[in-house]
Point group: C2
Chain length 174, copies 2
Amino acid sequence: MRRITFFNLVAVAMLVGVIACVVPAFGRADKSSDPVYLNKIPSGYRDWKLISVAHEEGNLHSLGAVLGNDVAIKAYREGTLPFPDGAIIAALHYGHVPSEENNKVFGRAQSFVPGPPTNIQFMVKDSKQYAATDGWGFGSFTPDGKPGNETAMKTCAPCHAMASHDAVFTRYAP
Amino acid sequence: MRRITFFNLVAVAMLVGVIACVVPAFGRADKSSDPVYLNKIPSGYRDWKLISVAHEEGNLHSLGAVLGNDVAIKAYREGTLPFPDGAIIAALHYGHVPSEENNKVFGRAQSFVPGPPTNIQFMVKDSKQYAATDGWGFGSFTPDGKPGNETAMKTCAPCHAMASHDAVFTRYAP
């Protein structure tokens, strides 16, 4: 339980939203000592279809959109679990900021919109390549497309392992 | 000013998020006494690309996703204002509810996700047909696809007329 508590704390501190980050080094220790995480953003992700949206408070204050490639969307809509190889889930995270324009019209502080982007995170399903981490490879990128902090990314797989739907937190919003 | 204040109050009470609802009857009083609003959901909207996400508090407690058809997305990405005819913006609204599963993993109440859908709202650009309401026709539908409350829908156009970007509140999230 001590390990889970540690990861919980790390998760609260480091993860934004429901998707995060990297396959820890020990995930493929039998094949390589290098950490295995995505080093390139999957192409075309901003055109993918909507899976859901997310709002994280605590010390995150983030609004997020979760998108899926065609393989992921099909699996979500048909309720296929585990997700098939080739599925990719993207989480686009932004700050959670008040909208001055909307609030002025509404006459009260009620409207929150995406602030500056904070990161873009991915889960890529390949049941063989990422067998040690529920079949998922993880990646986190800064808004300008560079791989994110590696220490933070090592928390992704153990945190997602606690999610009930094939290590995925996000559900499909109809 | 009294009229604007009235619409502000109505907007707070009735509108969910940034998109709402119907062309008021007076908008086409010269052509017809019937209210002009969308009576059919634009087909395929759930496959459209992401414009942004939204969170409304006050008495709404909603999470929303804002999607656009190809004409709308192109205009957003290229900064085209006013939006060209054919642009359609969809706002999918849900309750704003805590995620028990996520919070259990995080160890604190920080995660909010879409609850049951509350409505689906549209803005359709046709500068001739909807000339009296900034070129936009409005529609609001219940989650099962029926047109929403007409009284509420009459507040859409005057409220959106106060938005600075061609009567649209939502900005594109990168």
